[in-house]
Amino acid sequence: MNYESIWLVLLFPIVGFLIQAFLGTRIEKMFGRRALGAIAVLPIALSFAVGLMITLSTKGGPEESAKIATFGNWINAANLKIPFEFIVDPLSMTMVLIITGIGALIHLYATGYMSEEKDYARFFTYMNLFIASMLVLVLGANLVLLFVGWEGVGLCSYLLIGFWYKDIANAKAANKAFIVNRIGDWGLTLGLFLIVALLMKTNGMAGDGRFLSYDSMLPALKTGLQQNPGMATAIALLLFVGAAGKSAQFPLYLWLPDAMAGPTPVSALIHAATMVTSGVVLLNRMHIVFEMSPIASAIVCGIGAFTALFAALIAFGQTDIKKVLAYSTVSQLGFMFIACGAGAYWAGMFHVTTHAFFKALLFLGAGAVIHAMGHNQDMRNYGNLRKYLPITFWTMILGTLAICAVGIPGVFGFAGFYSKEAILGGALANTHAQIQGIQVGQIAGWVGLGVAALTSIYMTRLTCLTFLGSEERWRKIPVSHEHDHEDDTHHALDGNHTPKEVSPSMWIPLVVLAILSVGGGFVLANGGAFEKWLYPNELPVLGKISTEPNNIPLALYSTIAAVGGILLGLAFYLKGLPKNQGWNEAEWSPLRRAERDQFGFDRAMTVATVEGGGDIANGLWKWFDVGIVDGIVEGAGKVSGGIGMVLKRWQSGYIRLYALMMLLGFVSFIGYFAFVIKGGH
């Protein structure tokens, strides 16, 4: 299929969105939920099919085979032109396949998961809109279209986090997600402005005015920034602020854990597999700028490594199964940024891909558990669920092995094994990401290795608490109302509750994702296939990127980290939670409490922004608006009022007095002219 058919990929989800939005409730009434669910899944599946056909006809790397399909004008202002144009190249098509492929599976899963919810059509309206926005993000051939998708996915994320809007906490989480993302967008916008201003100044009126289109912008930036490394750093850092917002890097990660308030399929699709990786996509798109700035690259690496470590530690303090996975996502995103900072862009994208497989799987598995346990999300209420949820258990085990990066070097590994090793290798081997001789990239590589071990431990903790151990933990519970729903279709978890394995529409996606998590990495890494597909040429500035550090037996180390972590985790948690992490949170050790509270960071930021901001705003209002400006205005009114009080005594209301005054005034006026002026001459 020709690259010009790319509009079809976009069209299907948009049509799906419109159908859901305008006819959704009607279809649901007439044909039932099953039909509506099918209508929701179908466009995404069709998009995937078209995307696959286009991908198969795409060959080679981004520089050669990037094809741009233009569909008319959007914004023409002076000499700036921003058309509706879409790019078909390996990067965009990789993302298209992830988005539509995983998206279709998650939609399918959601038809089961959401089957007891009230606003079925509304849910799929948002979901289809999300897919459409995400596709615009990756397919848009200029930064403004990317920005359209960028904010569009932010909107859908906002709407879906607040899907159960009757709980005000969800609404607040939604607001937080949108606003923190907007802070990232602030950086992205400024970066974009800086690029336009720079290119308009250097290239002036030359060219066709498409200053922000990748095909003309990237080469222009390459020549334009060569003389100006400071500018490269500025642009790179501003873009990174945007990427950090969307991809939940420190300190803008704050929104992602709260975003778990949304339904679980949303967490799987948006907050694990696709949207949160768009920061990595942006860095891949704009890699020329980062290549030219070692400082910016070092900062990307450093923030990535810090985020990976920070989030992995917090994951230990969480008892909500989705929160653990959320922090795990933040941590894995940190890995991707380490890769991008180190110049191993393909490794970052590789991890995006494998992470999409196994993290979607883990979230969907967690969703199945939550569904089976009456929407109770606290892992301390789980135990021995392998007996009741065998499919979920086994698929999640495979997903866990994939995220722990288990594998036998040179023989076979789960999906995460290959991508994580490429990242760590790229980081340890690189000399690019550095600030004044400090090899931040290599430090990040060592930190990453440690975080890999931590990942294994907390994922084992999750598995042990949920699927192993004794069922006494939830058998003992009398009644619980953890999740407050609008309709009482959900059974609250209690001692008599028997978890049931989920329906086929829910476990089929689990199985497919499990297969991808097991074999995906092996197939894609085979003979460096993924790297050759995504980056067939050397990087334009950095040249060849090695992911095999000399003198470091990385394969050995990472295997030790993965397997050792799992063994440690089993040792700690096989018998359930230790007492200092159990029900009574007052008994928790200070470290656990600090981890649970995100080391106080979230609280501090809330105090600084929400409460402090409110006080400042109130102060400003009272002081300036009400005090000074209105004070002056009202003061002026009062002064004139006072003068009026004096003068009004003259206004008796009697006509004759007025007439007399008029006469006297007239006479004195005439008199003045007749005698004084004339007399003067």
Binding site: Q651, G653, I655, L663
Partner: protein, 115 residues
Amino acid sequence: MNGVPLAAYIGLGMIMFTTGVVGVIIRRNPIVIFMCIELMLNSVNLTFLTFARYQMAARSSDALGMQNSLMAGQMMVIFVMAVAAAEVAVGLGIIMAIYRLRDSVDIDELNLLRG
């Protein structure tokens, strides 16, 4: 000018005007006040006419000047009469309305405009 001196006309005008002014100020009945206003207007009219005639006589040597000044005074008089008529119509209407509202037209009782 047929022997009547200019000063006589002006004097009459002054007397009429002063009578009008004093009337407006001291009388309480709006109808009378109106009549006094008419008196003032008429005194002005008289003055206009007087000066028009007087000027015509003075400038009769200058043909063009005469043409120009010939009817200006008389024209103003017609204007004043038209305005006076309109004023009376509106004024009487207002007085009627006030009377209907308050059963009295004593202007000393009409001090709504007091500050």
